[in-house]
C-alpha cells in the first residue's frame, strides 16, 4: 500500500535544539520530533514517521494538510501537536472539502484517524473522501487542466502596477508518487474502499455517544464537549500517542478531525445567543484540547462556523487558543460574484494566523490576497494577481485610457516621442482636466464605445496645438 513507503525527505536527525537530555525527564516522549536523547540508550531510536517531514526553520515535525498549496502558505505544513482551525464559509460548501482532504491525506499516509461530528456519521464522511491522484493514472487529465489555465494575458508585463509583477507566482506541481509529502486528490472520485478498510480510524458521532455511559468528569463544559474530550484522551492514551503507555510503542500520527465545532448540534449556544450560559465552554474545550495535543503525536483540524457566532469576543479568544487559523469566504450569494476581478474563482482564502512555535518568528508568506477555485478535479489556491491587469483598465478615468494600450506604443503613433515622460504626463493632465470644460464640439467617439474618448495625445503635434483644450478657449 502507499503507506508503506517511508517519506524520503525526512532526515534521520535534525541538529537543531536537541533537548538537553537531563536524567530527570519524566516522560520519555519528546514532543515535536526532536530526536530522542542520544544519551538515553534504553530509549528506542526515533524512526521517521510516514507522511511527516521536519520543518526547514526549526526542525519541527510537520504533516501535510492534504492541499500542497495550503502547505506552502503555512510554511511547510501543519506542525504536529497543533490545531488547524478553519472558519467555515457561509453555506458550508468548501470547508468540508478541506476537512476531507486532511482525512484523505491521513489514509494515504497510513495515519490513524479520529473523526468527530455531530451532524454526519463518521463512516459516511469516510466514504466520501476524495481519491488520491497517483503517478501515471491521471497525469494526462491534469496536464490538460493546466493548459486551459494558461491565458494569453499572463505574459503581459504591467506598466502601472509593476510591483505586482515581482511577487512570486503560486507553483503548480503535478501529481507525484505516493511517497511525497503532500498528495493531490481528485474531488470527483471517491477513495477506494480497500484503502479505507485498511486504515485505522475511530469515529465519534455525538447522538450515539451522548446516551452512552462514558464516565463523565465534573466540569463546566457542555456534555458533548466533555464526552469528546474523554474520547480523544482515551484514544491517545490507549494507542500510545503520548508515549505514556508502556505497552504501546506508537510511532504514528493521530489525525483528529472535528466538524462544525461550536454549532448548536454540539449543544453549544454561542451561535444562538450573544451572552449564553455556556460562553466559556468552547474556549475551555479548545484549551484542554491544546493541552492534549501538545503532549502527543497528533494534529487536529477543526471547522467552525464563526460567521454564526454572535459574540465577537469569543472569535478573538478562539483565534488565540488555536494555532493556525484559515478563513474561507465563498462568493456564492455575495456581491463579489459578479465582480469581474473574481470571475474565475469561487472564493477567498484568508490565512489569519500562523503560530510561532519554538521560535521568535514564523514563516509568514508575503502573499495576502488569495483566492481558491474548485476546478473539475482539483482545489487550487492562487493569488488574485493576474486579474489586476483587467482592474487597471477599470480604475483610471477615460482620459487616461490610452496610457494602457498594450499593442503599440502607449502614446499613440509617434506623436510624443520627443517629449520626456513628465512633459507628456503634464500634457495628458491638461487633457484630462479639459474634459471638465465644455468644448466647442464634443470629440468624435470612435472606438468600442466602452470608454469615452477625451482629448488625446494629438495636443502638441508639430509643436503647435492641434486641438485646443478648453483651458485656452478659442473664441468661436
Amino acid at each position: 500500500m502507499a503507506a508503506a513507503a517511508t517519506c524520503g525527505s525526512v532526515a534521520a536527525s535534525t541538529g537543531s535544539a536537541v533537548a538537553t537530555a537531563s536524567k530527570n525527564n519524566v516522560t520519555s516522549f519528546q514532543r515535536r520530533g526532536r530526536r530522542a536523547s542520544g544519551t538515553n540508550d534504553s530509549g528506542p531510536r526515533l524512526v521517521s514517521i510516514t507522511g511527516t517531514r521536519p520543518s526547514v526553520r526549526n526542525g519541527q515535525l510537520l504533516v501535510s494538510t492534504g492541499l500542497p498549496a495550503l502547505d506552502q502558505l503555512l510554511g511547510g505544513g501543519l506542525a504536529v501537536g497543533t490545531v488547524l482551525l478553519i472558519e467555515e464559509d457561509k453555506y458550508n460548501i468548501y470547508s468540508p472539502l478541506l476537512f476531507k482532504y486532511f482525512l484523505a491525506e491521513g489514509i494515504v499516509n497510513g495515519h490513524t484517524l479520529l473523526v468527530a461530528s455531530a451532524k454526519e456519521d463518521p463512516a459516511n464522511i469516510l466514504q466520501e473522501l476524495p481519491a488520491p491522484l497517483l503517478d501515471d493514472k491521471c497525469k494526462k487529465e491534469f496536464d490538460e487542466d493546466v493548459y486551459n489555465h494558461k491565458t494569453p494575458e499572463s505574459n503581459i508585463k504591467m506598466k502601472i502596477a509593476w510591483r505586482y509583477q515581482l511577487l512570486p507566482k503560486m507553483e503548480q506541481i503535478g501529481p507525484v508518487s505516493s511517497s511525497r509529502f503532500g498528495h493531490y486528490y481528485d474531488a470527483s472520485k471517491r477513495m477506494p474502499q480497500e484503502l479505507i478498510e485498511a486504515s485505522n480510524w475511530h469515529g465519534f458521532f455525538l447522538p450515539e455517544k451522548i446516551s452512552s455511559t462514558l464516565k463523565v468528569e465534573p466540569c463546566s463544559l457542555t456534555p458533548g464537549y466533555t464526552k469528546l474530550l474523554q474520547f480523544i484522551q482515551n484514544i491517545i492514551y490507549e494507542e500510545g500517542f503520548d508515549g505514556s503507555n508502556p505497552q504501546k510503542k506508537q510511532r504514528n500520527i493521530l489525525r483528529i478531525g472535528i466538524q462544525n465545532l461550536g454549532s448548536p448540534l454540539w449543544g453549544d449556544d454561542i451561535c444562538c445567543a450573544e451572552n449564553g450560559g455556556n460562553s466559556h465552554s468552547l474556549t475551555k474545550f479548545l484549551y484542554v484540547l491544546r493541552g492534549l495535543l501538545r503532549t502527543s503525536l497528533s494534529a487536529c483540524i477543526i471547522t467552525m462556523p464563526t460567521h454564526l457566532i454572535q459574540n465577537k469576543a469569543i472569535i478573538a479568544r478562539v483565534t488565540t487558543l488555536s494555532d493556525i487559523v484559515v478563513g474561507l469566504e465563498s462568493f456564492i450569494g455575495s456581491e463579489r460574484e459578479t465582480n469581474p476581478l473574481y470571475k474565475d474563482y469561487h472564493g477567498l482564502i484568508h490565512i489569519r494566523q500562523i503560530p510561532r512555535l519554538n521560535n521568535l518568528i514564523c514563516d509568514e508568506s508575503d502573499v495576502k490576497d488569495l483566492a481558491f477555485k474548485l476546478k473539475r478535479k482539483l482545489f487550487t489556491i492562487e493569488w488574485v494577481q493576474d486579474n489586476y491587469l483587467r482592474q487597471e483598465r477599470n480604475i483610471y478615468p477615460p482620459g487616461f485610457s490610452y496610457l494602457l494600450k498594450q499593442k503599440d506604443s502607449a502614446w499613440g503613433e509617434g506623436s510624443l516621442q520627443h517629449s520626456t515622460f513628465l512633459m507628456s504626463f503634464l500634457a495628458k493632465a491638461t487633457a484630462f482636466a479639459s474634459r471638465l470644460v465644455r468644448h466647442s464640439e464634443p470629440l468624435k467617439q470612435n472606438g468600442s464605445g466602452r470608454i469615452r474618448q477625451a482629448a488625446g495625445p494629438r495636443l502638441w503635434h508639430d509643436g503647435r496645438r492641434q486641438e485646443a483644450p478648453g483651458l485656452l478657449g478659442i473664441p468661436p
Partner: protein, 323 residues
C-alpha cells in the same frame, strides 16, 4: 527634577465592579529614580541607531540599570506587556531570559505554550530552562499539561488550576498560593538569588477559561502585594488587547492593569498592515503609580524587526530596508 521623598502609595486602581476590602496597606513603592533617568537618557542618545536588544550580550540590557544592586531597589515593579494585532511573545521570551541571566528566582506561569517551546527559544537567547529548573532558580507551571491533569483526574490536594473543574467562576486563590509558595524565600540564610520575579503568560487565557475580569485583577493585586511589596520582586504580565473585538472583560482587565503598572510595553502591528521588514511597533510607557503625575509619563515608540535570535529596534521610518 526634585522629588518629594516618602510619598505614599495612593492606590489608584480603576476597575469596575465592587472593590473588595483588602486588609493590607501598601507602602511606598519608590522607584529607583536614578535608574529611571539613566535609562531614559541612554535611550534618547541611542534612539537613532539600530541596535539589538535581545542579543546575548547582557552588558547592553537596558533594564540592568534599573535593577542592578547599585541603584536603590526598594520596591518591585509591575511591567505590563500588551500586544494588539500582533504577537508579543518575543517580549516574554526576552524577560524570561533576562531575569534568569540576572540570577533572579523566577516563577513562570506559562498558560499558553508548553515548556519545550520556551526552552528552545531560551536556548537561542542563551539560557537553559532545564538547568534553571534543576537548580531551583525557575519554578515553571505548565498550564497546558496541568489542565489535562486536572480535568481528567481528580486531584487530592488543591491544584493551581483547580478552577477548571468548577462549574461557576471561582477565584484564583489556589494559583496565588502556588505563586507564593514558589517565591517564598528559603530560610537557609544564604541569598542565592537576588530577588524574585513572577512572569505570567498570558492573562487573557484566564478570561477564556471562565474567570471574570475582577477575579483576575484580584489575583494580580494579591500577587503584587506579595511579590512586589513584601518580597521586593518584580512582576511581568502579558495581556492581549483585543482591539475592536469588543471584549469587555479583556478591556476591564487591560485598563485596570495599565493603571497599576510601572512600565507598559505595547507591541502593535503596523497600522498599514503586514510588512516583511518591519514586524511591528513597540511603545514604551513609564508610569509612576506611586505618586500623582506631576509631570507627563515618558513614552517612546520604536519599530522592530524580529530575527532568529534577536530583535532589532529602530526609530520610526528608519528601517534599514527603507533607507
Amino acid at each position: 527634577m526634585a522629588r518629594r521623598p516618602g510619598t505614599g502609595y495612593l492606590g489608584v486602581v480603576v476597575r469596575r465592579g465592587s472593590t473588595r476590602g483588602l486588609d493590607w496597606r501598601l507602602g511606598p513603592a519608590e522607584s529607583g529614580l536614578l535608574g529611571h533617568l539613566a535609562y531614559s537618557q541612554r535611550l534618547t542618545v541611542r534612539s537613532r541607531t539600530e541596535r539589538n536588544w535581545l542579543g546575548p550580550s547582557p552588558s547592553w540590557a537596558p533594564q540592568a540599570d534599573l535593577f542592578s544592586p547599585r541603584s536603590s531597589h526598594s520596591g518591585g515593579k509591575l511591567t505590563l506587556l500588551c500586544d494588539a494585532k500582533t504577537d508579543g511573545s518575543f517580549l516574554v521570551h526576552h524577560f524570561l531570559s533576562f531575569y534568569l541571566k540576572a540570577n533572579c528566582k523566577v516563577c513562570f506561569v506559562a498558560l499558553i505554550q508548553s515548556f519545550s517551546h520556551y526552552s528552545i527559544v531560551g536556548q537561542k537567547l542563551g539560557v537553559s530552562l532545564t538547568m534553571a529548573r534543576e537548580r531551583g532558580q525557575l519554578v515553571f507551571l505548565e498550564g497546558l499539561k496541568s489542565a489535562v491533569d486536572v480535568v481528567f483526574q481528580a486531584q487530592k490536594e488543591p491544584h493551581p488550576l483547580q478552577f477548571l473543574r468548577e462549574a461557576n467562576a471561582g477565584n484564583l486563590k489556589p494559583l496565588f498560593e502556588f505563586v507564593r509558595e514558589a517565591l517564598k524565600p528559603i530560610d537557609s540564610g544564604e541569598a542565592r538569588w537576588t530577588y524574585p520575579v513572577l512572569l505570567v503568560d498570558d492573562l487573557s487565557v484566564l478570561l477564556s477559561l471562565g474567570m471574570g475580569a475582577v477575579a483576575v485583577l484580584d489575583f494580580i493585586h494579591y500577587c503584587r502585594a506579595t511579590v512586589c511589596w513584601e518580597l521586593k520582586g518584580n512582576m511581568v504580565v502579558l495581556v492581549h488587547d483585543s482591539g475592536d473585538a469588543e471584549d469587555e472583560e479583556n478591556d476591564i482587565l487591560l485598563n485596570g492593569l495599565s493603571h497599576q503598572s510601572h512600565l507598559i510595553l505595547r507591541a502593535e502591528g503596523l497600522a498599514t498592515g503586514f510588512c516583511r521588514d518591519v514586524h511591528g511597533q513597540l511603545r514604551i510607557l513609564w508610569r509612576r503609580p506611586s505618586q500623582p503625575t506631576v509631570h507627563r509619563d515618558q513614552s517612546f515608540t520604536y519599530q522592530y524587526k524580529i530575527q532568529d535570535k534577536s530583535v532589532s529596534f529602530f526609530a520610526k521610518g528608519m528601517s534599514p530596508a527603507v533607507l
